[in-house]
Symmetry: C2
Subunit: 127 residues, 2 copies
Protein backbone atom coordinates (compact mmCIF):
# COMPACT_ATOMS: atom_id res chain seq x y z
CA UNK A 1 0.00 0.00 0.00
CA UNK A 2 1.39 3.39 -0.98
CA UNK A 3 1.94 5.21 2.25
CA UNK A 4 2.03 8.51 0.39
CA UNK A 5 -1.52 8.00 -0.78
CA UNK A 6 -3.79 10.77 0.39
CA UNK A 7 -6.28 9.58 2.94
CA UNK A 8 -9.45 11.45 3.88
CA UNK A 9 -9.23 13.59 7.00
CA UNK A 10 -12.21 12.65 9.11
CA UNK A 11 -11.59 15.21 11.81
CA UNK A 12 -14.42 17.69 11.46
CA UNK A 13 -13.69 21.40 11.43
CA UNK A 14 -16.80 22.02 13.48
CA UNK A 15 -19.38 20.25 15.59
CA UNK A 16 -22.99 21.36 15.50
CA UNK A 17 -25.62 20.44 18.09
CA UNK A 18 -29.34 20.84 17.34
CA UNK A 19 -31.24 20.88 20.61
CA UNK A 20 -35.02 20.50 20.92
CA UNK A 21 -36.35 21.69 24.27
CA UNK A 22 -39.95 20.63 24.79
CA UNK A 23 -42.42 21.25 27.61
CA UNK A 24 -40.46 24.24 28.87
CA UNK A 25 -41.54 26.85 31.42
CA UNK A 26 -43.47 29.13 29.08
CA UNK A 27 -43.06 32.30 31.16
CA UNK A 28 -39.30 32.07 30.66
CA UNK A 29 -39.62 31.60 26.89
CA UNK A 30 -41.58 34.85 26.62
CA UNK A 31 -38.99 37.12 28.24
CA UNK A 32 -36.11 38.27 26.11
CA UNK A 33 -34.05 39.34 29.13
CA UNK A 34 -34.43 35.95 30.78
CA UNK A 35 -33.66 34.06 27.57
CA UNK A 36 -30.51 36.15 27.07
CA UNK A 37 -29.41 35.61 30.67
CA UNK A 38 -29.80 31.83 30.37
CA UNK A 39 -28.00 31.65 27.02
CA UNK A 40 -25.07 33.73 28.30
CA UNK A 41 -24.83 31.56 31.40
CA UNK A 42 -24.76 28.43 29.22
CA UNK A 43 -22.02 29.88 27.04
CA UNK A 44 -20.03 30.67 30.18
CA UNK A 45 -20.49 27.10 31.40
CA UNK A 46 -19.17 25.85 28.06
CA UNK A 47 -16.11 28.11 28.52
CA UNK A 48 -17.01 29.95 25.33
CA UNK A 49 -15.70 33.47 24.71
CA UNK A 50 -18.61 35.70 23.76
CA UNK A 51 -17.88 38.17 20.94
CA UNK A 52 -21.37 39.68 20.69
CA UNK A 53 -24.98 38.94 21.65
CA UNK A 54 -28.18 39.90 19.86
CA UNK A 55 -31.60 39.09 21.28
CA UNK A 56 -34.96 40.21 19.91
CA UNK A 57 -38.46 40.12 21.32
CA UNK A 58 -41.07 39.27 18.73
CA UNK A 59 -44.77 40.12 18.84
CA UNK A 60 -47.11 38.77 20.02
CA UNK A 61 -44.52 36.53 21.72
CA UNK A 62 -41.33 34.64 21.12
CA UNK A 63 -37.66 35.45 21.26
CA UNK A 64 -34.82 35.00 18.79
CA UNK A 65 -31.28 35.30 20.00
CA UNK A 66 -27.72 34.77 18.88
CA UNK A 67 -24.41 34.71 20.67
CA UNK A 68 -21.43 34.98 18.35
CA UNK A 69 -18.55 33.32 20.20
CA UNK A 70 -14.86 33.08 19.33
CA UNK A 71 -15.52 29.39 18.77
CA UNK A 72 -18.61 29.93 16.48
CA UNK A 73 -22.17 30.46 17.82
CA UNK A 74 -25.16 29.76 20.05
CA UNK A 75 -28.68 30.51 18.72
CA UNK A 76 -32.18 30.17 20.15
CA UNK A 77 -35.73 30.61 18.90
CA UNK A 78 -38.64 30.24 21.31
CA UNK A 79 -42.30 29.38 20.79
CA UNK A 80 -43.92 30.04 24.20
CA UNK A 81 -47.30 28.98 22.82
CA UNK A 82 -45.86 25.50 22.27
CA UNK A 83 -43.55 25.52 25.34
CA UNK A 84 -40.80 24.86 22.81
CA UNK A 85 -37.35 26.25 22.11
CA UNK A 86 -34.97 25.39 19.26
CA UNK A 87 -31.31 25.86 20.15
CA UNK A 88 -28.23 25.27 18.09
CA UNK A 89 -24.64 25.36 19.18
CA UNK A 90 -21.80 25.35 16.70
CA UNK A 91 -18.17 25.14 17.77
CA UNK A 92 -14.89 24.84 15.94
CA UNK A 93 -13.11 24.15 19.24
CA UNK A 94 -12.77 20.65 20.68
CA UNK A 95 -12.34 22.17 24.13
CA UNK A 96 -15.78 23.62 24.84
CA UNK A 97 -17.94 21.88 27.43
CA UNK A 98 -21.00 21.81 25.21
CA UNK A 99 -22.75 18.84 26.80
CA UNK A 100 -22.47 20.56 30.17
CA UNK A 101 -24.00 23.70 28.70
CA UNK A 102 -26.86 21.71 27.14
CA UNK A 103 -27.71 20.09 30.46
CA UNK A 104 -27.81 23.51 32.08
CA UNK A 105 -30.08 24.84 29.32
CA UNK A 106 -32.52 21.99 29.90
CA UNK A 107 -32.61 22.79 33.59
CA UNK A 108 -32.85 26.56 33.22
CA UNK A 109 -35.68 26.42 30.67
CA UNK A 110 -37.48 23.78 32.72
CA UNK A 111 -37.62 21.44 29.72
CA UNK A 112 -39.37 18.18 30.58
CA UNK A 113 -38.28 16.67 27.28
CA UNK A 114 -35.13 17.22 25.28
CA UNK A 115 -33.72 15.81 22.06
CA UNK A 116 -30.14 16.46 20.99
CA UNK A 117 -28.53 15.72 17.64
CA UNK A 118 -24.84 16.23 16.90
CA UNK A 119 -23.49 16.79 13.39
CA UNK A 120 -19.91 16.97 12.24
CA UNK A 121 -19.31 19.87 9.89
CA UNK A 122 -16.58 20.24 7.33
CA UNK A 123 -15.30 16.70 7.24
CA UNK A 124 -16.75 15.57 3.94
CA UNK A 125 -14.33 16.34 1.18
CA UNK A 126 -11.08 17.24 2.84
CA UNK A 127 -7.98 15.25 1.99
CA UNK B 1 -61.36 4.42 14.69
CA UNK B 2 -62.02 7.21 17.13
CA UNK B 3 -61.94 10.36 15.09
CA UNK B 4 -61.49 12.40 18.25
CA UNK B 5 -58.22 10.64 18.98
CA UNK B 6 -55.33 13.02 19.20
CA UNK B 7 -52.91 12.55 16.36
CA UNK B 8 -49.38 13.91 16.32
CA UNK B 9 -48.92 17.20 14.53
CA UNK B 10 -46.13 16.58 12.06
CA UNK B 11 -45.97 20.14 10.79
CA UNK B 12 -42.66 21.43 12.04
CA UNK B 13 -42.41 24.85 13.66
CA UNK B 14 -39.15 25.45 11.88
CA UNK B 15 -36.99 24.12 9.09
CA UNK B 16 -33.22 24.12 9.42
CA UNK B 17 -30.78 23.72 6.55
CA UNK B 18 -27.13 22.80 7.17
CA UNK B 19 -25.10 23.71 4.10
CA UNK B 20 -21.54 22.53 3.47
CA UNK B 21 -19.77 24.62 0.83
CA UNK B 22 -16.53 23.00 -0.28
CA UNK B 23 -13.83 24.06 -2.73
CA UNK B 24 -14.88 27.70 -2.52
CA UNK B 25 -13.02 30.75 -3.79
CA UNK B 26 -10.71 31.26 -0.85
CA UNK B 27 -10.17 35.00 -1.39
CA UNK B 28 -13.88 35.56 -0.82
CA UNK B 29 -13.91 33.50 2.39
CA UNK B 30 -11.18 35.72 3.88
CA UNK B 31 -13.02 39.03 3.51
CA UNK B 32 -15.62 39.90 6.08
CA UNK B 33 -17.15 42.62 3.89
CA UNK B 34 -17.56 40.27 0.97
CA UNK B 35 -18.98 37.47 3.15
CA UNK B 36 -21.51 39.88 4.63
CA UNK B 37 -22.49 41.21 1.21
CA UNK B 38 -23.11 37.68 -0.11
CA UNK B 39 -25.08 36.60 2.97
CA UNK B 40 -27.30 39.69 2.85
CA UNK B 41 -27.91 39.14 -0.86
CA UNK B 42 -28.91 35.54 -0.19
CA UNK B 43 -31.32 36.61 2.56
CA UNK B 44 -32.85 39.10 0.15
CA UNK B 45 -33.25 36.39 -2.47
CA UNK B 46 -35.04 34.25 0.11
CA UNK B 47 -37.38 37.20 0.83
CA UNK B 48 -36.22 37.25 4.43
CA UNK B 49 -36.61 40.40 6.54
CA UNK B 50 -33.28 41.20 8.16
CA UNK B 51 -33.50 42.37 11.78
CA UNK B 52 -29.77 42.68 12.45
CA UNK B 53 -26.44 41.50 11.06
CA UNK B 54 -23.19 40.77 12.89
CA UNK B 55 -20.02 39.77 11.06
CA UNK B 56 -16.59 39.32 12.58
CA UNK B 57 -13.15 38.91 11.06
CA UNK B 58 -10.99 36.42 12.91
CA UNK B 59 -7.19 36.27 12.94
CA UNK B 60 -5.24 34.96 11.16
CA UNK B 61 -8.19 34.39 8.84
CA UNK B 62 -11.80 33.31 8.81
CA UNK B 63 -15.13 35.03 9.21
CA UNK B 64 -18.13 34.35 11.44
CA UNK B 65 -21.40 36.01 10.67
CA UNK B 66 -25.03 35.99 11.68
CA UNK B 67 -28.13 37.55 10.22
CA UNK B 68 -31.06 37.58 12.60
CA UNK B 69 -34.16 37.65 10.40
CA UNK B 70 -37.82 38.03 11.28
CA UNK B 71 -38.17 34.40 10.23
CA UNK B 72 -35.18 33.12 12.36
CA UNK B 73 -31.52 33.22 11.17
CA UNK B 74 -28.69 32.78 8.68
CA UNK B 75 -25.20 31.97 10.00
CA UNK B 76 -21.83 31.37 8.35
CA UNK B 77 -18.36 30.32 9.46
CA UNK B 78 -15.52 30.25 6.94
CA UNK B 79 -12.22 28.34 6.85
CA UNK B 80 -10.32 29.92 3.94
CA UNK B 81 -7.39 27.57 4.56
CA UNK B 82 -9.73 24.68 3.69
CA UNK B 83 -11.77 26.56 1.04
CA UNK B 84 -14.74 25.63 3.22
CA UNK B 85 -17.75 27.45 4.64
CA UNK B 86 -20.43 26.11 7.01
CA UNK B 87 -23.78 27.84 6.59
CA UNK B 88 -27.01 27.25 8.40
CA UNK B 89 -30.40 28.71 7.66
CA UNK B 90 -33.29 28.40 10.08
CA UNK B 91 -36.77 29.60 9.22
CA UNK B 92 -40.12 29.43 10.93
CA UNK B 93 -41.82 30.66 7.75
CA UNK B 94 -42.97 28.29 5.02
CA UNK B 95 -42.78 31.16 2.54
CA UNK B 96 -39.07 31.83 2.31
CA UNK B 97 -37.29 30.84 -0.89
CA UNK B 98 -34.47 29.07 0.92
CA UNK B 99 -33.46 26.69 -1.87
CA UNK B 100 -33.10 29.66 -4.20
CA UNK B 101 -30.89 31.40 -1.63
CA UNK B 102 -28.74 28.27 -1.21
CA UNK B 103 -28.16 28.03 -4.95
CA UNK B 104 -27.09 31.66 -5.00
CA UNK B 105 -24.71 31.08 -2.07
CA UNK B 106 -23.06 28.20 -3.93
CA UNK B 107 -22.55 30.42 -6.95
CA UNK B 108 -21.37 33.48 -5.05
CA UNK B 109 -18.83 31.58 -2.95
CA UNK B 110 -17.65 29.67 -6.02
CA UNK B 111 -18.28 26.34 -4.29
CA UNK B 112 -17.38 23.40 -6.54
CA UNK B 113 -19.01 20.99 -4.09
CA UNK B 114 -22.03 21.45 -1.87
CA UNK B 115 -23.93 19.25 0.55
CA UNK B 116 -27.28 20.29 1.99
CA UNK B 117 -29.20 18.66 4.81
CA UNK B 118 -32.68 19.75 5.90
CA UNK B 119 -34.02 19.14 9.40
CA UNK B 120 -37.49 19.72 10.73
CA UNK B 121 -37.47 21.44 14.12
CA UNK B 122 -40.15 21.38 16.74
CA UNK B 123 -42.29 18.57 15.41
CA UNK B 124 -41.31 15.84 17.83
CA UNK B 125 -43.65 15.91 20.76
CA UNK B 126 -46.53 18.14 19.77
CA UNK B 127 -50.02 16.73 19.77
Amino acid sequence: MDKHMKTPNRNPLGRHWLVELQECTTAILREVAEVERIMRAAAATANASIVSGHFHQFQPYGVSGVLVIEESHFTIHTWPEHAYAAIDIFTCSPDLEVELAIGQLQTDFGAQQMEVQLFKRGSLLMV
